[in-house]
């Protein structure tokens, strides 16, 4: 009876809401509120945080040694990010090419595998790489000593590993959207495959190449948690900030420079990117024909696969080895029972997932109207385009710098609990991911479909419920999963905005680092760290599975 009444009530409520949505005042209020929330909670706090404590920069300026350390750390950040993004593109493009152009049925498996480092929480990834490259039991057991000791080289390997899937994903999408006819036209005009790719395909895909470089660059610049594990004595910007938590001067100095420089780099790329010409226009028909041979193509594919398996995939999953060992040494029952350190661990996991869920829901609620404003140019072409640029800023700002400036801003509000601060920080960091995913999905839907709905009598909310939502629900789900995984992995900002122990913070700061300093006095054993990472990895795989199922639903749809 109650269910029947609820069913009858549902269309009535929907009808009433639909009716409300056609009132311009209501519609505009929703849009204005979402814009105000964006400025008040996401964009302005980090900027104001830096401005508030601007004076403390003198602390650094007056200490030449500290300043030189800070500048060196910033330079190291940019050097690593540039180098890693460059090799990511060089290695990632052939991989994307192979996935999209190859004919083997195994390529869809390869496609899924290439996502793994993206889905593995970076703290787990850091430990996994450490085990594989440096610790006994990994490559070191083959070569006798620490094969790659913690330091700049391991940082580069780590950053390459986690940003590689970003390049592959962007380029796979671009290649699938690419109109093959351009390349075919070039071939019919006499161009060898290599010439056609070099002179036609890549110049047309220039925007995607730049986008993949930029995203890899931003991801490298931001990463903190995993880098802490593998950095050794190497210090880059985020680690410098982490080392000086509680000191306003170094925090503001490095954050301000990181934010300013990364913004400058991205604005430059945005402005100059479209004008960038591919370096060599001259054609060498004979040589390029030889380089297009099937032998060369097979060798290229072989090298690409080797790099992927040896440098990306196996190191990413290597943590599974101690995790399995732990299962057979009795650690598992302790872990599942929450005995000792495991009580803290499960608490941190609960906290991470709680924050992840809250942040995801907030993103959906406040992000949807913003995505529609951007996609449908609701506030005019110019202002909507400006908003489009502004919502992307948190992606390009290193998360640790963002966290530091947010912490400074919110410490003025004494009533602010730590958990809320953490949620705000994660909201700032993840907001662009949801907006990008949703606004792109809405943009793909022809305006005519919306207009058709309106001419058939649907109110604006009705159009959203019956046309936009069914057509974008899979993108919304993908965006939400991306937000969720990013939030669960986040370490840098989390470390500086609060003392709360999320799972990656617990693993990086309280388990791995003490263990590396002194395994005997550390609160955990190697097996326990392995199992802790293994649980996170298993949960991430479950999420990947959901993502895959959702995507499959989209294809069916």
């Amino acid at each position: 009876m109650q269910a029947e009444r609820a069913n009858l009530l549902k269309p009535k409520i929907a009808k009433a809401l639909d009716k409300l949505s056609s009132k311009t005042v209501i519609k505009n209020t929703v849009y204005i509120v979402s814009i105000i929330i964006f400025f008040a909670l996401i964009l302005l706090p980090p900027i104001l945080g830096i401005i508030i404590k601007w004076g403390s920069i003198e602390d650094v300026l007056n200490q030449p040694k500290l300043m030189s350390e800070a500048l060196n750390a910033i330079a190291a950040s940019f050097a690593v990010a540039f180098f890693v993004s460059f090799i990511d593109v060089v290695a990632g493009v052939p991989m994307a090419w192979m996935i999209t152009r190859g004919k083997s049925k195994w390529l869809s498996v390869l496609d899924t595998l290439s996502d793994i480092p993206f889905i593995v929480p970076t703290a787990t990834l850091g430990y996994s790489l450490l085990l594989f490259w440096s610790e006994p039991g990994g490559l070191s057991s083959l070569f006798g000593a620490s094969f790659v000791s913690p330091g700049w080289l391991l940082v580069i390997l780590l950053h390459f590993t986690f940003s590689f899937p970003v390049v592959v994903r962007v380029m796979v999408g671009a290649l699938l959207d690419y109109k093959l006819e351009y390349e075919q036209a070039a071939r019919t005009l006499g161009a060898a495959p290599l010439t056609a790719d070099r002179t036609v395909t890549f110049p047309i895909l220039k925007h995607s190449l730049i986008a993949s470089f930029t995203l890899a660059f931003a991801r490298s610049l931001s990463e903190t948690g995993a880098t802490m594990m593998v950095a050794g004595v190497f210090v880059h910007g985020p680690i410098f900030i982490k080392n000086h938590i509680g000191e306003a001067g170094p925090l503001v100095f490095v954050s301000a420079i990181l934010i300013a420089l990364s913004s400058l780099v991205f604005v430059t790329i945005r402005l100059l990117g479209p004008r960038l010409k591919m370096p060599v226009r001259k054609v060498w028909p004979v040589a390029e024909r030889k380089l297009s041979s099937s032998t060369i193509a097979s060798s290229r594919n072989g090298i690409t696969l080797l790099i992927f398996f040896v440098i990306v995939l196996v190191p990413s999953l290597f943590v599974a080895v101690p995790a399995f060992e732990a299962i057979f040494t009795g650690v598992l029952p302790e872990a599942l029972g929450g005995v000792g350190v495991w009580g803290d661990y499960w608490q941190s996991i609960s906290l991470s997932y709680f924050v992840g869920i809250v942040v995801t829901l907030l993103n959906v609620v406040i992000g949807l109207p913003m995505a529609i404003i951007i996609a449908r140019r609701k506030i005019g072409n110019g202002p909507s385009a400006v908003l489009d640029v502004l919502v992307n800023i948190p992606i390009i700002v290193p998360s640790v710098a963002l966290g530091a400036s947010l912490a400074i801003f919110w410490e003025n509000f004494a009533f602010m609990p730590d958990i809320l601060l953490l949620i705000f920080a994660h909201l700032s960091i993840t907001y662009p991911y949801f907006i990008r995913s949703m606004s792109a999905a809405v943009e793909r839907i022809s305006m005519e479909l919306e207009e058709a709905g309106r001419t058939l009598g649907a109110k604006p909310l009705g159009v959203f419920r019956t046309i936009i939502f069914p057509l974008t629900k899979y993108s919304m789900l993908s965006g939400a999963i991306m937000v969720f995984t990013r939030s669960v992995s986040e370490t840098g900002a989390t470390l500086v905005v609060s003392n709360l122990k999320t799972a990656p913070v617990l693993l990086a700061k309280y388990w791995v680092l003490p263990f590396m300093e002194d395994p005997l006095s550390a609160p955990v054993t190697r097996a326990e760290i392995g199992l802790g990472c293994g649980f996170l990895l298993a949960l991430s795989f479950a999420i990947l599975l959901v993502l895959r199922l959702a995507t499959r639903g989209e294809k069916g749809h």
Binding site: E181, A185, A186, T188, G190, P285
Partner: protein
């Protein structure tokens, strides 16, 4: 010399047979059209010739050379795509000279060729324009110029006029034919527009469901269609159902539904009692007011009149409830009126007789 031969060529996509055992010989310097409804396999056939797809069976020859394993860049062809596929990051000049550049011609020669072909398509003044700054007609001409500049004697055109307005399309189709004839090229032109194919082709191959049904000059296809589908697809035909009621050396009598009898030439491969389809072109009827007792005549009532400019089109309901279309010149005769009784006569020479198709008439005429 670039004549093209396809021998038993088959191409499958999974379970779908896109091209089914095609045999055809396209002569040197010929303007040849592949004509058929959407999805009939005509574009696949062109792509097989270009090397953009590989045949599952059969052989493709360009000149005397078997090209099955030759990549597109080595087939010495020019290809005009339906969407033009002009490189969006290059201006008109760089698009046009792309072929000579990638083939390794020296710059001077590439430039000479570029100027020649741009002269030919009369687009010299838009050298610096990018594709998004050109109209549909201009893009089409640049696409043709680019294909010509590659210097090949074989030009493949995949529905090159499909994206253009009717007026521009009509102008450009003659222009393309003129250029190919001036340059003595072999041209293979894919289209679903029978009027376009009839207007420009030396010969046409009509394709349905991956098979070539008939190859011939436009006149041959129109005057002597070998199947009901061709009679339907090339031009327009009235189809009247009946059976062979009498057969002699001098001719045959077909009895249409409702007992209407008509006398026609002796049909091939048909016997007395066989079901038959009579195909009569709408413009071959002689139409008179009132009921007349002419030989080979049918009587009906004018049901609808459509003024089409040059012609006037009458839809006439017969006594047996079949409908017939008659087309007459609009300006030389007095128009009939709706509801008027008329007699339509036709000569046996202008009538085609076909055996009733096994799959049924509707299926036989289906274009999709």
């Amino acid at each position: 010399m670039p004549d093209v031969r396809l021998v038993n060529v088959t191409k499958r996509y999974g379970k779908i047979v896109a091209v089914d055992g095609v045999n055809v010989h396209i002569y040197d310097k010929e303007y040849f059209s592949l004509l058929g409804p959407s999805g009939c396999g005509k574009t696949t056939l062109l792509r097989l010739i270009a090397g953009l797809v590989q045949p599952d069976e059969g052989e493709v020859y360009i000149g005397d050379r078997l090209v099955n394993d030759v990549p597109p860049e080595d087939r010495d062809i020019g290809f005009v795509f339906q969407t033009f596929a002009l490189f969006p990051h290059m201006n008109s000049w760089n698009n046009v000279t792309y072929g000579p550049r990638v083939k390794g011609f020296d710059m001077k020669k590439a430039e000479t060729i570029g100027h020649e072909v741009l002269d030919m398509v009369r687009l010299h003044e838009r050298l610096d324009a990018y594709p998004n700054e050109l109209s549909g007609g201009m893009m089409q001409r640049i696409a043709v110029a680019r294909a010509l500049a590659a210097g090949s004697k074989l030009l493949l055109l995949d529905e090159p006029l499909g994206q253009l307005d009717a007026k521009v399309r009509n102008e450009l189709r003659y222009e393309i034919r003129r250029m190919t004839k001036d340059l003595e090229l072999t041209a293979i032109h894919v289209t679903h527009d029978q009027a376009e194919a009839m207007a420009i082709s030396d010969r046409i191959a009509v394709i349905k469901k991956g098979k070539i049904l008939q190859v011939g000059t436009p006149k041959e296809l129109y005057m002597t269609p070998k199947s009901i589908f061709i009679a339907h697809f090339i031009g327009e035909s009235n189809f009247l159902e009946g059976y062979v009621s009498n057969l002699s050396r001098r001719g045959a009598t077909i009895e249409l539904r409702g007992g209407i009898k008509v006398h026609v030439e002796v049909p091939k491969n048909m016997e007395k009692g066989d079901r038959a389809i009579l195909a009569i072109r709408p413009e071959t009827f002689v139409i008179e007011k009132g009921i007349k007792k002419n030989k080979n005549s049918i009587v009906g009532i004018v049901e609808r009149i459509t003024f089409e400019g040059t012609n006037i089109r009458y839809e006439i309901r017969l006594r047996n409830e079949d409908s017939v279309v008659v087309i007459r010149p609009s300006l030389v005769e007095e128009w009939l009126k709706v509801g008027e009784k008329v007699t339509m006569s036709f000569s046996p020479e202008n009538t085609h007789i076909f055996a009733y198709p096994e799959a049924g008439l509707r299926e036989e005429l289906a274009v999709e």
